[in-house]
Structures are given as structure tokens and as C-alpha cells.
Symmetry: C2
Subunit: 149 residues, 2 copies
């Protein structure tokens, strides 16, 4: 099995924070990290169950809380159908475009944006922990198909 440095990073951090590292948590974290899409708690549960059919829904929810508090996972703007999550590691410095026609979420990278935010914040005496940028509109396909607004 691939030794995933990101997995190690999470393990390291959780241990240092006084959390225990269990096979369930490893599975959940590995699954979350390996999921490129944005997922709901339920979807993550189903993915995990492919490898461990006995894992409990409650464990997934509880682990997501831990991971969110630790900053390894972040909640997204949810339409209906439950909260969406994404893992944060390795996703540094990217933003999200949300297509309002088809619901697709496209990631994009805007170089230097983070630096400029830090600069603007520093001028206001603000210490930045993280940020959330979301661009709403119409994606290429929907614009072509429907014409859009």
C-alpha cells in the first residue's frame, strides 16, 4: 500500500493533538484524501465501506468533526442534500468556481492571490488563518448550451 506522506502528516498532527490513531481514522483520512471530488458525509461513508463494510456512520461523522477542527477538511457551501466537504491538504492556493446552471464545481488557481490577501490583511492588522473564495456563474458547457443569463 502506498505510503502517503499526506496521510502521515495528518496522523502526526492528530497524535500531537492528543487524538488516537485508529484503523478507522486511517481509512477515513486516506479515503478523504484520495477523493478528488467534494463529498458528503454519506458518500464518504459509502466509499469507506468498500474497504471496511463494518465502519459506522457515526464514526465518519465524528472523524469529520475532528478533521475539520484540525483544518484538514473544510465544509463547502452546500446546496441541498447535506454538507459537502473537501480535503484541504495539497489543495493549497486554489479557489472554486461554482456553475449555477449544472452545479459543477471547478477549481482554478490564481497566482499571487493569497499573497495579496495577506498584504491587504496585514495593512488592517489582521492575521489570516485561511480564506474562502467562491466565484459563481456559468461554466463553459452550460454557457454554450443554454446561453446563460
Amino acid at each position: 500500500m502506498k505510503t502517503d506522506p499526506e496521510l502521515r502528516l495528518v496522523e502526526e498532527h492528530l497524535r500531537r493533538s492528543g487524538f488516537r490513531w485508529t484503523s478507522q481514522r486511517a481509512l477515513i483520512v486516506r479515503t478523504a484524501l484520495g477523493t478528488h471530488e467534494h463529498f458528503t458525509a454519506e458518500q464518504l461513508l459509502q466509499l469507506c465501506r468498500r474497504l471496511d463494510p463494518d465502519i459506522s456512520r457515526a464514526t465518519v461523522y465524528r472523524t469529520l468533526q475532528v478533521l475539520e477542527a484540525a483544518g484538514f477538511v473544510a465544509g463547502l457551501d452546500a446546496g441541498s442534500g447535506g454538507r459537502r466537504f473537501e480535503h484541504v491538504i495539497g489543495h493549497a492556493d486554489h479557489e472554486h468556481m461554482v456553475c449555477e446552471a449544472c452545479g459543477a464545481i471547478v477549481e482554478f488557481h490564481e497566482p499571487g492571490l493569497a499573497r495579496r490577501l495577506l498584504g491587504a490583511a496585514a495593512r488592517a492588522g489582521f492575521r489570516v488563518a485561511r480564506h474562502s473564495l467562491r466565484v459563481y456563474g456559468t461554466c463553459r458547457d452550460c454557457a454554450r448550451r443554454g446561453g446563460g443569463p
Copy 2:
């Protein structure tokens, strides 16, 4: 009662879109616009009930769906305890810094940001309608007082 131009704007738009303008919708929109920051559906319901104790939870939910589709209200990253919403009107061309220690919300303006977003989006074939940028961290006062993270 104050004639709220933003309220008029919403009414105008909804009417034009074929929705009916009812006393309940007026109350919900007025309340949402008058609410400073994020609220859950339940909180909005309680606020509305101070003025109309008979308004139904379902009506608030249904109206929120309409307002969200129309772009007057947007879903936020939800912690636990249900989706959070915020109203969108009047938020043009400035961004928000949110202090996680005291809850203060500081607005700031980052010149050229909108232009760069449009550029990045255009490269991806994305047509931008609006965006939402939120910077989370510690404000000057809280950093000085508590030290922060």
C-alpha cells in the same frame, strides 16, 4: 415603515421572474436584509415570527430556495447546526475579513481583484456572475489581547 430600496429591488426582480409578492415574502426578505450576518433557516424563522407569529417554517425554507436561486441570498460554509445564509445585496466590490475570536467582520477592498477573477474565469470558459471572498483569522485587537493561534 422605512421604504427600503433593496427590498424594492428584490420585489421587482421576483415579480419580473414570475414569482408572486406576498406579505410573507416581504417579511422574510426584509428580515433577511436587515440581519447583519449569517443566519440559519431556523433563526430567520424565529426573527420573522417576532413580527408574524403565524408564519410557517416551510414558507421560510421555500422562500429561501427562491431567494437563493435568484441570487439575493447565498449559502455559506456551514459549521454544524444547519446551513447558514447571508444576504448578498449591497456587497459589491468589497470583501470580508472575519475574526474568529470576536466575530467582528471587517470589510476591505482589494483593487483589481475582480478583474483578475474575470481573467482567470475567462481562461476556463467560465462566465462570472458574482463572487464571495471571505478571509478568516484574528483581528488586530484579538491578536493583541489573546495572542491568537
